[in-house]
């Protein structure tokens, strides 16, 4: 980026610095400065200069809003509109969850144009069990909210303008049925699918791999992902059909480079399958988005967002031949690391969240969920959740970090590291492809082993003190600070939720329910390969119209596609 003459001057300055360095530390103080490296294993020098970025072409960085979008998707970043604060929330029943959502909205949680309702289902709903089933015992209302019927959705969404409200359910195994129920609910209010604004997670494979939970074998999961994409692209053009989930990968101790490679590899496979399913790439690709992890390696995390946007744009342009800007522009939602939170000295987690939100902002994210300081102890209390919002508001309104686009752009270190990290991520992406692609690498366990190795290494480093976590293996305090721990009266919630779903089931025409589920089963059996996508979602929506519950729909899928676990 600098001409030869200037580089010569820089070279002389670097030589001078090297002399000073050797003189002071090695000769005089006789110390050896330990080598350091990033989370992704990239070796670092103590200082960076124009020489380190002399071979980077500015066209690879460009202006904000220009390909390859390293510096941001649009000509302006937060000067035009702040990032969205989209806090996933949910506990007990729909009523309590709605109340929490409203409270957070009053305290400033918002999307670009309207309200956000990002709801986490409870443990039973998450795996497709209605609260009146034996399997759901003890699992209702915890880890999220009980949402199993259109009635639960109604309570959460009632009164919101669904054209403006961003709605999303944090689902994995149940992603298709919950979308079907939402569409059926919206239709009853007079909305058409094309009006709806929000997102499906459609990230089941990553959850299956990273959370070791119930789902179908990977190939069947892939088919269902493609089915959802096909339906949304054809009927719900405002709906974000797929949220590539780097978050769960990061929560499994993956390095930033690994996370990027997982996300890109899965996206490549999904796009290829979508093309086989008859979709035009430029119709499908703009509605991919992400939930990326935000860890503690401040600069590498900033570079991760910059480098990933670049990799996405290049892949979409060069591999899929798409020139449409919206296809090349990768929108990022960040979820600050849960794995970085400590139970010890929990207020320290506010500092961690602050660094992570700042890194996300310096990396030009579109949206942030900020984990709460008490999450290593319990689900977030109201106070803790509001403090998470405040972290964002302080950075936006007080720090000045949002005044300038990509404020670290041009930093010798940041540009060098963005480039290095991109290369590292390409390497892993290439390796996954060489081994048959994302789903294949899930089936062989190669991806699982990669994460397992990281988890083991992380533990060893913490135990040996090589990796310092304040309050955990350094600066420990015997006297613990008590923070209020949020709990749900699980037994009571379960009874009420079970009663509600029983009433819901009694209110239906049972023949309609049976027939609808039979049609779902037939469509599921007839869906043999991704090129046949497009026939399952419509009958699933019919089933939702007939008031089938989440559990009933999911059960059909398990009968047809079977059950599998990663290990």
């Amino acid at each position: 980026m600098t001409d030869e003459k200037n580089l010569d001057i820089v070279r002389q300055m670097e030589d001078e610095w090297q002399k000073n360095y050797t003189e002071k530390y090695e000769k005089k103080l006789r110390v050896k400065i330990p080598e350091s490296h990033t989370e992704s294993g990239i070796s670092l020098k103590p200082v960076y200069t124009p020489l380190d970025i002399s071979d980077i072409d500015y066209s690879d960085i460009e202006m904000p809003g220009s390909y390859p979008y390293t510096r941001g998707l649009y000509p302006l970043t937060y000067q035009y509109q702040p990032w969205m604060t989209q806090q996933i929330h949910g506990y007990a029943r729909a009523e309590e969850t709605r109340e929490r959502g409203e409270k957070l909205a009053r305290e400033g949680m918002k999307g670009y144009k309207g309200a956000v309702l990002f709801v986490v289902p409870d443990l039973a709903s998450a795996y497709g069990y209605d609260p009146d089933t034996q399997e759901a015992r003890g699992m209702v209302g915890i880890g999220g909210t009980s949402v199993n019927s259109e009635e639960d959705i109604r309570i959460i969404c009632d009164g919101y303008d669904l054209k403006k409200t961003r709605v999303g359910f944090s689902t994995k195994t149940t992603c298709l049925p919950i979308l079907a129920m939402y569409v059926a609910y919206a239709e009853r209010l007079g909305y058409e699918p094309k009006d709806l604004n929000g997102q499906s997670q459609n990230r089941r494979k990553i959850s299956w791999l990273g959370q070791n939970t119930r789902d179908h074998p990977p190939q069947e999961q892939l088919k269902l992902q493609v089915e959802l994409i096909k339906y949304c692209v054809e009927h719900m053009p405002r709906w974000n059909h797929t949220n590539l989930c780097g978050y769960v990968v990061g929560e499994n101790c993956a390095s930033p480079a690994q996370e990027m490679a997982f996300m890109l590899s899965e996206a490549i496979e999904l796009i290829e399958c979508g093309i086989k399913a008859g979709l035009n790439p430029d119709d499908m690709i703009p509605r991919f988005s992400a939930q990326m992890h935000m860890g503690m390696d401040f600069f590498e995390e900033i570079c991760k967002l910059r480098a990933f946007r670049k990799m996405w744009a290049k892949t979409i342009k060069e591999r899929f031949g798409c020139d449409k800007a919206a296809s090349q522009q990768f929108r990022i939602h960040v979820h600050t690391g849960g794995i970085n939170l400590t139970a010890q000295q929990p207020l320290n987690n506010i500092t961690r969240a602050t660094l992570q939100v700042l890194a996300s902002v310096l990396g030009s994210t579109q949206s942030i969920h900020t984990s709460s300081y008490d999450e290593a102890l319990s689900l977030p209390s109201e106070d803790a959740a509001i403090t998470s919002l405040r972290v964002n508001q302080i950075i936006l309104n007080e720090s000045g970090a949002a005044k300038v686009c990509d404020p670290l752009g041009g930093s010798y270190y940041v540009e060098w590291l963005t480039d290095k990290l991109e290369k590292e991520a390409w390497k892993i992406t290439g390796e996954i492809e060489k081994r048959g692609g994302f789903t294949q690498c899930m089936e062989t366990g190669w991806l699982w082993n990669m994460l397992d190795q990281r988890i083991r290494t992380w533990r060893q480093e913490v135990d040996s003190g090589q990796r310092i976590i304040v309050g955990v293996n350094k600066y420990r305090q015997e006297e613990a600070l008590e923070v209020p721990e949020f709990t749900v009266d699980q037994g009571v919630v379960e009874k009420m939720a079970a009663q509600r779903i029983r009433e819901w089931k009694q209110s239906r025409n049972q023949d309609e329910v049976k027939n609808a589920l039979k049609r779902v089963e037939a469509a599921a059996r007839g869906y043999m390969s991704v090129d046949q996508a497009g026939h399952l979602m419509p009958v699933l929506i019919d089933a939702a119209r007939a008031r089938c519950t989440l559990g009933e729909m999911v059960e059909v899928f398990f009968q047809v596609y079977g059950q599998a676990y990663p290990c």
Binding site: Q211, I455, R456, Q490
Partner: protein, 135 residues
């Protein structure tokens, strides 16, 4: 003598099928194995009868359950009562995200050891050794 005893230590470590967090559990499994404890790792159970059945068949000396999403009270209560119904005497330990205020409730239920996020894997291992030496 102590080594001979340690070789016999055999435990069942498990979690509920809906529990989306397993890094802590896997870490404990690894550390136990490294420390010479024989671990029956049962990565998921649907109900607690299943846990008791496996514990019986595998003839373990202790059951460890991991819960990070708030199901610890329910799981502990049902497990302890299922063991009682079967007339089985078996120590149970619980780990994961366990609020401090629940630790004494759990002990009241008869849970032998509670390990929250502040516990280290080595604490769990030495607890198991101490407990099973005593039994």
């Amino acid at each position: 003598m102590e080594t001979a005893k340690k070789e016999k230590v055999r435990v069942l470590l498990t979690r509920h099928v809906f529990e989306g967090h397993d890094i802590g559990l896997r870490t404990i499994v690894n550390r136990c194995r490294e420390s010479g404890i024989e671990v029956i790792y049962y990565p998921r159970f649907k109900d607690l009868n299943e846990v008791v059945k496996v514990a019986e068949e595998e003839d373990v000396g202790l059951i460890g359950i991991s819960s990070s999403t708030g199901a610890h009270l329910y799981l502990s209560e049902v497990l302890i009562s299922t063991l009682k119904e079967k007339g089985m005497v078996m120590p149970v330990i619980v780990g994961g995200i366990i609020p401090d205020k629940d630790a004494s409730t759990l002990k009241g239920l008869g849970i032998a050891g509670v390990f929250g996020p502040g516990s280290t894997p080595d604490e769990v291992v030495s607890f198991i050794f101490t407990l099973l030496d005593r039994h």
